[in-house]
């Protein structure tokens, strides 16, 4: 949650731009190194599973992306709250930047999961409770992005997307529960993080750390892009205003 606290300390985008500029190379380097190390551990150190063989290696990508898929939504929800309640200038930038990344991790979890499912369950997909609720999470991401993209006025789109994100927060646990109840084919949780042998647990945790850093790298980069895009747009608007001969100042982004 490093990025979160930085976001809160920074009241203005300019300081954010300065700080993130310095931070970004380090973050990127660290995430590359850690993910590389995790993959090394996964493929050369961790033993193949006696039951699953080498397919178990998918886990080192699958599980971190599944965690990040959920964490990204939490981040979006917090940002949305920040936008609607505190009107924080960076909140919307953060929410907007996180949505596609969260959706990508969700998709990654879905794809790696189904690739794993083929050898394990003999099919790419089952309508299991956990799978179904991840799919619905993916739909929520799609909804957030579709809603934002279909409204021209950006400030308005930001507010409406935030409302939807918060409604989604109420809904997600309900979906999780209802799907749990409804379904009987539930895959029992393996309790991997605590009980399994450290030869698997350690690479998994390293991989999770690396993926989290990757997420923050991408998120920060996307936020910077978004801020720059808004500045360019404001400059264009100002040009139009000038062409119309107005002396009115342009609202800073």
């Amino acid at each position: 949650m490093t990025n979160q606290s930085i976001t809160q300390k920074l009241a203005n985008p300019t300081r954010f731009m300065g700080l993130s500029d310095q931070l970004l190379p380090w973050l990127a380097g660290a995430s590359a190194a850690i993910i590389g190390y995790a993959m090394y551990l996964a493929f050369f150190v961790a033993p193949p599973d006696y039951q699953q063989g080498h397919t178990v290696k998918i886990m080192f990508i699958h599980v971190p992306s599944a965690w990040l898929a959920m964490m990204a939504y939490v981040l979006i929800a917090i940002s949305s709250f920040g936008l609607l309640v505190f009107r924080h200038p960076l909140a919307d930038v953060s929410a907007k930047a996180a949505a596609p990344i969260g959706a990508a991790f969700t998709l990654l979890a879905l794809i790696t999961g189904s690739l794993w499912g083929k050898p394990m369950w003999g099919t790419y997909w089952v309508w299991d409770a956990r799978l179904t609720s991840v799919l619905l999470l993916f739909f929520l991401y799609l909804g957030l992005m579709a809603l934002r993209s279909s409204i021209e006025d950006e400030a308005l789109a930001a507010k409406l997307t935030a409302v939807l994100a918060l409604v989604g927060v109420v809904l997600l646990p309900i979906i999780k529960f209802s799907v749990d109840w409804w379904n009987t084919l539930h895959q029992p949780s393996t309790g991997l993080t605590t009980t399994v042998h450290s030869s698997i647990r350690v690479p998994l945790l390293v991989s999770a750390l690396g993926f989290s850093l990757l997420f923050f790298t991408l998120h920060l980069k996307a936020m910077r892009n978004e801020i720059l895009r808004r500045r360019v747009k404001a400059l264009r608007m100002a040009e139009v205003d000038r062409a119309q001969g107005s002396q009115a100042p342009v609202a800073a982004s």
């Binding site: 950006e154 608007m237 205003d241 062409a243 119309q244 001969g245 009115a248 100042p249 609202a251 982004s253």
Partner: protein, 209 residues
């Protein structure tokens, strides 16, 4: 009534540091070129648009209601259902807009009949609103002003599509409202012929034009 307002549309400042007051019993006519921000200002007064800065105060209004709740807003659209008849439309608004604490006063049906007469809509009262011509629709929209009592009238280009006779009717009603101590703010490109009216010219935003 308004204090150093700054209003923005889509990230662009449209109305920049504007202050004005309208006294009870007076009308304010907003004028200015296309795109000057008349509509923007009226919508801000009606509470649809939050000012970036500054505030809007209605002095002497009831304290437990927002300024917007004491305004009649008539914008470009009339808010009438084309499948309801002229009379049904007005009756709905009369019932819906009646202040909750309002005493017996004049009953809605009576008010509606009165509004219909005043706007020459009586012969059309049983016709679905969708069949009206542009000017008839506009008159119906304006008739809403009379079905519930509110101190402030906000009118955005009220005379659009009206023939001269109807425009005259409207001017008379506005004059009557201000004479009774009401406030009217109207955006228009035409001369309405009002008594007790001040004019506020919004700045030339489009210099090229």
């Amino acid at each position: 009534m308004a204090d150093t307002l700054i209003l923005a549309r889509g990230g662009r400042t449209v109305v920049d540091r504007l202050s004005f007051t309208v006294d009870a019993g007076h009308a304010l006519v907003l004028s200015g070129a296309n795109g000057a921000g008349k509509t923007t200002l009226i919508r801000a007064l009606a509470g649809f648009l939050l000012p970036v800065e500054g505030q809007i105060v209605l002095e002497g209004g009831s304290a437990d209601r927002t300024p917007a709740e004491q305004c009649h807003f008539v914008g470009h659209q009339n808010g009438m259902k084309s499948s309801l008849t002229v009379e049904e439309n007005l009756l709905f608004w009369a019932d819906f807009l009646r202040a909750p604490g309002a005493g017996p006063g004049v009953e809605p049906p009576k008010r509606v009949a009165d509004a219909l007469t005043r706007f020459d809509l009586e012969p059309l009262s049983d016709i679905p609103a969708g069949y009206l011509s542009a000017g008839q629709k506009r008159r119906l929209g304006l008739a809403r002003l009379l079905v519930a009592e509110r101190p402030v009238w906000l009118l955005d280009e009220p005379t659009v599509s009206l023939d001269t006779r109807s425009a005259g009717l409207l001017a008379a009603l506005v004059n009557a409202h201000t004479a009774a101590g009401g406030i009217v703010v109207a955006a228009t490109h035409l001369d309405l012929g009002l008594d007790r009216a001040d004019e506020l010219r919004l700045g030339p935003r489009e210099v090229a034009a």
